[in-house]
């Protein structure tokens, strides 16, 4: 909690009891205006959203109304319900709940308030959970999954009788996932159980605060205001200001890489920055980046600074150790992934280094906000782009931050698979009336637009699977009784439900155990953490990889455990970069396109990057902000097409699948494609440039929106992505059960592959509710079809085609991405040399061929040209003359 610096304004301490003002005064503080404002509104019975920057005393503000109310109501009077918690606090992270408990206990103890505070998470012991049901605390700190479990208890009605307030921390991050949907449904039930329930939301700055206000309010409730939108909104308190963060892009002498995400070139500069600060937090986007960076820093650590690693795959014990050392000020730096994104108090962090592209402006602001947890001192941040496109993206994020722009994702309608889970939960708690439940659910903002027919289909799905072929009627899980209420048909179904609660369906993870000798496989070993099954699947015995900061040798798998030994070498096959979880935000993409089109803005960029763009302008062209640049060129014995939509990797992957299908039909014989956040490259055996020039088809036709029709449907039929999405929906909706370690062998779980289930269902009942849920997910999830559709309509009639002799500077990064997968050895250097128009070998004369004015001769490179002539000689005459570089620049 952050209460440590007072504001100078004299507070109007209206509803604040003397005990509290004295406590504030005793610490030399004064309550802040927004804390008192929130208290007053809560005391007037309102629900409130508090938007405030880090360090504004948000947490205290959120709890103050409950602390005051509990203090004033004193011990229960006879006849008053005292059972159950007075306040629920929900956070997205278990660690956050634990952190809050620590911080809240202090004022409660110091004021000697008669308030019991406890946490309840997945880690809480069964014993403690049982006790909490018998003797509930006044304030219960918990997670969305625990709320779902609590409302599905038989005695939920009694347990929540006393509930007055529910506080949602980090609401902006809670609401954008299926967990948010689960929580929205939980809240709708709590409103029914505890009429008059007040909500308090705590959030960082978001793009659409009204969405959060609506989320916090009951949508049929007439007591809240209607502000023109037709929606009920909670009150909003916005604390503006806070010192503007000071963010810079790191300066490094080293050559900036074309592609890749390791940022190895910047490690000396990062190390210097760490040395120059008290405590640094280093954020990266993926676990493998974290491992790489940690390894690099450790190698550079001449001063033996205490530097630690923290990511979600590490063993929980190890993570807690790092967190404790950090809180105690014993560490100089922690390399972390998003596990540390949210509001945990990390003590005296005075520098946040963000390695890799931030992907979103709001995201960057929130991460940088981890530094200097005080509102009035500026946070200091350092951005480390790992490649040239990331340098553009970092600059774009920096500009957006300066303007205070927000690009948090919008609220989406609630997911149907989560709704199915909730309906079963409702029956587990007590028999329900469908109309009452429907009204309850549609009072939540996320499900406001749910129609009765869809709801009925969900109930039918829960009851009998919802199939047109009514084979499960006699075996229904829930059934409508004579009194009109839907009830469970067997108590064991409640057990099944409890094991399946939640919306986080992770890729199967395997436990890693370190052993000394191969012979001790299967006999214990130290647990290091968990790793994705998919990664391990690619390894053979003897392969080495980095994990938890050390190099390990893969020895074998037994059951769900991976056995490793310490490797004798530092060289390792590092977990491959699977791409960030967060696609480039639409807003940042637009800013990047704007920067490309505006040479004036290049002065802000590192000189190497500016030089790269100038060379692109010379060798090909830079598209205008609203244009889509498509380049075609031959290389080795293949032909390439590179497009630059800047719409994020997910949308590009979908685009790639659809484009290759169309190119296949056009006879271009495409061989493959690769997608990055910025561009997409397709390669094939025919000259696509010539095909487009002849209009067979034209680029306009190739990129026509109609690809989202039949082509999409055809592709979806067999899409791996869609099958993975289906699996998630199948688990969340309760069609199949989660994998619970240890239960596999008992045969209690369905072992049919969900891929096969998907195929059968799609073939025989394509309109099934679960396929609808899957398609909804695909639109914005792994396939990002929505964004692709917006892009296709944006670029209509605005495609510029460059037919080139060879790869352009802007196309090099994506081609190197292909290289990382398929081409070995010198091929990458050849590629760069080709783009630069110099012969291979000249690269060794040093540095970047485009900015150091190396000698240029477009005419040579027979080795590259010959195969091309062989493959595409016929169209040679149609190609434009090569753009020649007239002079060196840089």
């Amino acid at each position: 909690m952050e209460m440590d610096d007072a504001l100078t304004k004299a507070p109007d301490s209206g509803g604040l009891p003397a005990l509290f003002s004295d406590w504030f005064a005793g610490r030399g503080w004064q309550p802040r205006p927004h804390q008192l404002d929130l208290l007053a509104r809560a005391q007037a019975g309102h629900s409130v959203l508090l938007i405030a920057p880090t360090g504004a005393g948000k947490t205290m503000a959120g709890f103050l109304p409950s602390l005051v109310d509990l203090h004033q109501s004193g011990p229960a009077r006879p006849g008053e319900p005292v059972f159950g918690p007075h306040t629920l606090y929900v956070s997205p992270l278990k660690a956050l709940a634990v952190d809050i408990e620590r911080n809240l206990t202090q004022p409660v103890t110091e004021m000697d308030l008669p308030i019991r505070i406890e946490t309840r998470t997945g880690d809480t012991s069964a014993h403690k959970r049982r006790r909490q049901k018998i003797v509930p605390p006044d304030i219960l700190l918990t997670t969305p999954e625990q709320i779902a479990l609590l409302i599905a208890q038989k005695d939920a009605r009694r347990f929540f009788l006393r509930l007055k307030t529910i506080i949602f921390d980090e609401l902006h991050s809670l609401v954008i996932s299926k967990r948010g949907d689960l929580l929205a449904l939980g809240l709708s039930r709590l409103r029914a159980l505890a009429p008059g329930l007040q909500t308090i939301g705590l959030s960082a700055t978001v793009a659409e605060p009204d969405d959060l206000c609506a989320w916090l309010a009951a949508q049929h409730d007439e007591t809240t205001d209607n502000v023109g939108t037709g929606r009920s909104l909670a009150d909003r308190i916005e604390v503006t200001g806070g010192a503007r963060p000071q963010i810079n892009i790191i300066e490094t002498e080293e050559r900036m890489p074309w592609s890749g995400h390791s940022a190895r070139h910047a490690i000396p500069a990062i190390y210097e920055a760490v040395k120059a600060h008290r405590t640094s937090l280093l954020f990266v986007n993926t676990r493998s980046q974290a491992e790489l960076l940690f390894q690099g820093l450790w190698a550079a650590n001449a001063d033996s600074l205490p530097i630690a690693l923290h990511h979600g795959s590490l063993d929980q014990g190890q993570r807690r150790k790092v967190e404790a050392a950090m809180a105690a000020g014993k560490l100089r730096a922690v390399v972390a992934t998003s596990t540390l994104d949210l509001g945990i108090d990390w003590g005296d962090v005075d520098l946040v280094i963000h390695v890799g592209a931030p992907k979103g402006a709001s995201r960057l602001a929130q991460r940088i906000g981890r530094a200097n947890h005080r509102m009035d001192e500026p946070s200091r941040g350092l951005l480390v782009p790992a490649n040239r496109f990331e340098a553009l993206e970092c600059q774009a994020a920096l500009n957006a931050n300066y303007l205070g722009h927000q690009d948090t994702p919008a609220l989406k309608p609630g997911a149907l698979d989560v709704l199915c889970q909730h309906i079963l939960g409702a029956a587990v708690a007590e028999p329900f009336d469908a109309v009452t439940l429907f009204n309850e659910i549609t009072a939540s903002e996320s499900y406001r637009t749910l129609d009765w027919e869809t709801f009925e289909r969900c109930v039918d799905f829960v009851a009998t699977g919802g199939y047109a072929l009514r084979v499960y009627e006699r075996h229904a899980r829930i059934r409508k009784r004579k009194d009109g209420l839907w009830a469970l048909t067997h108590p064991r179904i409640a057990q099944q439900y409890r094991l399946n609660v939640g919306t986080i369906v992770e890729a199967p993870m395997l436990l890693i155990r370190q052993i000394r000798r191969v012979s001790s496989i299967g006999r214990g070993g130290r647990a290091l953490g968990k790793i994705e099954e998919g990664f391990i699947e690619a390894l053979v015995k003897g392969d080495t990889f980095r994990f938890s900061g050390t190099t390990l040798r893969f020895e074998g798998i037994r059951e769900n455990t991976v056995y490793v030994t310490p490797a004798q070498t530092e060289d390792a096959r590092i977990p491959s970069y699977a791409g960030g979880k967060f696609p480039l935000s639409t807003y940042l993409a637009d800013v990047v396109r704007g920067m490309l089109a505006d040479p004036q803005s290049w002065d802000q960029l590192p000189p190497q990057v500016a030089g790269w763009l100038r060379l692109q302008a010379e060798k090909s062209l830079l598209p205008k902000r609203d244009q889509l640049l498509v380049e075609t060129f031959p290389r080795a014995d293949k032909f390439y097409m590179v497009a630059f939509p800047f719409e994020g990797r997910l949308a590009h992957q979908t685009l790639g699948m659809l484009l290759t299908r169309r190119l296949e039909r056009a006879g271009a014989r495409p061989l493959g494609f690769v997608a990055s956040d910025y561009s997409i490259a397709v390669w094939g055996l025919r000259d696509m440039g010539a095909i487009f020039a002849r209009g067979e088809p034209s680029l306009g036709a190739l990129f026509d929106e109609d690809m989202l029709g039949d082509d999409l449907e055809d592709w979806l039929a067999d899409s791996y992505m869609l099958k993975r999405t289906f699996r998630t929906c199948a688990v969340i909706s309760g069609l199949i059960q989660r994998r619970h370690p240890g239960l596999e062998k008992t045969g209690r779980q369905v072992t049919v592959s969900t891929d096969l289930i998907y195929d059968v269902l799609r073939e025989h009942e394509p309109d099934h509710i679960l396929l609808q849920a899957t398609r909804d997910d695909a639109a914005s999830g792994l396939l990002d079809i929505r964004r692709l559709g917006e892009m296709l309509s944006r670029i209509k009639g605005r495609i510029v085609h460059q037919q080139l002799e060879r790869v352009s500077p802007l196309s090099v990064p994506i081609l190197l991405d292909i290289g990382r997968e398929a081409v070995a050895g010198d091929a990458n250097d050849d590629l760069i040399a080709e783009a630069a128009g110099i012969a291979p070998g000249e690269l060794e004369t040093g540095g970047d061929p485009w900015t150091n004015g190396a000698a240029v001769n477009d005419g040579i490179e027979p080795a590259i040209r010959q195969p091309r002539d062989r493959a595409g000689g016929r169209s040679e005459g149609r190609r434009r003359p090569a753009r020649r570089r007239s002079s060196g620049n840089g």
């Binding site: 799905f461 009998t464 699977g465 919802g466 199939y467 072929l469 084979v471 499960y472 006699r474 075996h475 899980r477 067997h490 064991r492 179904i493 099944q496 099954e533 391990i536 699947e537 798998i557 037994r558 059951e559 769900n560 069609l735 199949i736 059960q737 596999e744 209690r748 369905v750 072992t751 049919v752 592959s753 096969l756 289930i757 195929d759 059968v760 269902l761 073939e763 025989h764 009942e765 099934h768 997968e821 398929a822």
Partner: protein, 239 residues
């Protein structure tokens, strides 16, 4: 559709890309592990209620109908596990008539398997736990190693699949596995998973080096060299 002729213990047989065996001398068609009504078996327990899409029987029978139309066999032999559980035949409902229609004008033999040790009369056909045909021993579970003796064995039960990696992509398909005297037929049911041919379960039945793998393609059956085969890392067999 191109069949692949092979010899098993001296008997001429053909491997059909649909995942079936054709005995030309008898005009006999052999399919294994239909696992009919597998989906519904997960939804009808007292405790376990997973309402999987109840369309797998329909899909499997459709495939079988097409295969029978193409081959017009005099005899159809289902090599066991034709139903996923004992209750399967009773849950067929109207689909029983489809089976009856397939049986018209030809002999039909259900060989019992571990999933369907007993079969009711209403599904038609004859029932046996094995059959001898031209010196070939046809049964559900492969017998103990025949050691390359005279009599050949055709069995199902193991649901063999093969996995290969080509041009950076992994392909995992159903497959026949055999040596000179033993053939294991892939599962025919649409909701049946598979066991990788490199699993130790297969080594029990085939001597070292003797195992040959024929992977099902869309139109033909492909012989796969042992070096090209990849194992599944996932130890939880999807059966």
């Amino acid at each position: 559709m191109a069949e692949l002729p092979v010899h098993l213990a001296g008997v001429r047989i053909a491997l059909d890309p649909a995942g079936a065996v054709w005995l030309p001398d008898h005009r006999a068609l052999i399919v294994a592990d239909l696992h009919l009504e597998k989906a519904t078996s997960f939804g009808v327990g007292r405790v376990r209620k997973n309402f999987l899409p109840p369309y797998d029987t329909r899909a499997t029978l459709l495939n079988l109908t097409q295969l029978i139309a193409r081959r017009n066999p005099a005899l159809v032999i289902c090599l066991g596990d034709s139903f996923h559980d004992r209750g399967g035949p009773d849950r067929l409902g109207d689909q029983t008539r489809q089976i009856t229609a397939l049986q018209a004008g030809r002999d039909w033999l259900w060989i019992t398997g571990n999933h369907d040790p007993e079969l009711p009369a209403h599904i038609g056909g004859d029932v046996a736990d094995h059959i001898q045909l031209d010196g070939l021993h046809l049964c559900h579970e492969p017998g103990e190693s025949t050691g390359g003796g005279d009599s050949g064995n055709i069995a199902g039960h193991l649901h063999p699949v093969a996995k290969i990696r080509t041009r950076g992509r992994t392909v995992r398909r159903r497959a026949f596995v055999c040596d000179q005297s033993r053939l294991i037929v892939p599962a025919f049911g649409v909701l049946t998973g598979g066991l990788n041919v490199l699993d130790p379960a297969f080594a029990r039945y085939f001597g070292h080096g003797g195992l040959r793998t024929y992977m099902l393609g869309t139109r033909q059956v492909h012989a796969i060299g042992a070096a090209a085969l990849r194992p599944d890392r996932d130890r939880t067999a999807r059966v």
